[in-house]
Subunit: 143 residues, 2 copies
DNA sequence: TTGTATTTTTGTAATGATTTCAAATATGTA
DNA sequence: TACATATTTGAAATCATTACAAAAATACAA
């Protein structure tokens, strides 16, 4: 369950809380991630922001995403073999990718919470549960 | 738990069972994967086999791994953001990557078995649980 | 066995994502 | 305003992966 603070937190607030100076570009990218929970690739972010920010550089998108991830304002998903994807939802949850259309969505299933534990003497910091298959739309089309 | 058949299965048998003609190169790569359960990258495989197979081409390693994965003789791991990794252990199990040294190992924890289920109307074919943190060796060094 | 068709391997070139880097721009502060 | 610092930018470099066509190996029929 999300608490009110998380739900209401603005992009600006998220950046501040994570110690990131909210430049125009950073705020645009942070807001994009928080408002478009499609786990976008770098190119999706760039292409969607470019029309309203024609001076935006791909390098800035890369730089900013690195900054967001390093400071805990976003997480990186390796669910997609082809492209790195990003998510502003930083609380543990499960991700699903459709083998047909490639869309990545949240799955309503709780991942095991392993953080803080030791397993096989490994110190666990975080974990990701990735699920693959066919999304409802593609499932229909295949029949 | 592994059954005898899995334990005893040779590279040759694995290839045959999966309908792959066992050429010299394919057999070398299959055996390497089955004998070195380090979840190697393409380059690790190539570098380790090259000394004893000086005519081996990187492209062959790529081609063969694609073939192995497509026919179910191996699985692909996206746990490592930098490089694709491969595993000859095809039964569901959990993987761990060390944030410090980058090594990938099996973790003695059962992943949720979701295959065959529908969640949020998604048809589940397979899933991967990836765990990150510090391996025992790096944990020691950090103290 | 020989010749021919098919499969597999190989090396090079192309592609695509990401990083590096140094100059240009913007911002914060005295 | 003037200067120092932080940020953005675009071009070039890097690195993993794929495409491709020629060469080599193998299968198979005569």
């Amino acid at each position: 369950m999300q608490n009110k603070k998380d739900i209401n937190e603005s992009g600006q607030e998220r950046l501040m809380r994570c110690g990131i100076r909210p430049s125009v570009q950073r705020l645009a990218i942070m807001n994009y991630l928080m408002e478009n929970r499609i786990h976008p690739t770098v190119d999706q972010i760039f292409s969607d922001l470019y029309p309203t920010m024609p001076t935006l550089s791909r390098t800035t998108v890369y730089n900013t995403l690195k900054l967001l991830v390093d400071s805990g304002a976003a997480i990186i998903l390796t669910i997609d073999e082809k492209n790195t994807r990003f998510d502003a939802e930083i609380k543990p949850h499960t991700h699903f990718m459709c083998n047909q259309c490639g869309s990545v969505t949240d799955l309503n299933i709780n991942p095991p919470i392993l953080k803080g534990n030791y397993i096989d003497d490994c110190e666990i910091l975080n974990s990701e549960l990735y699920v693959y298959g066919y999304c409802p739309e593609c499932k229909k089309k295949r029949n």
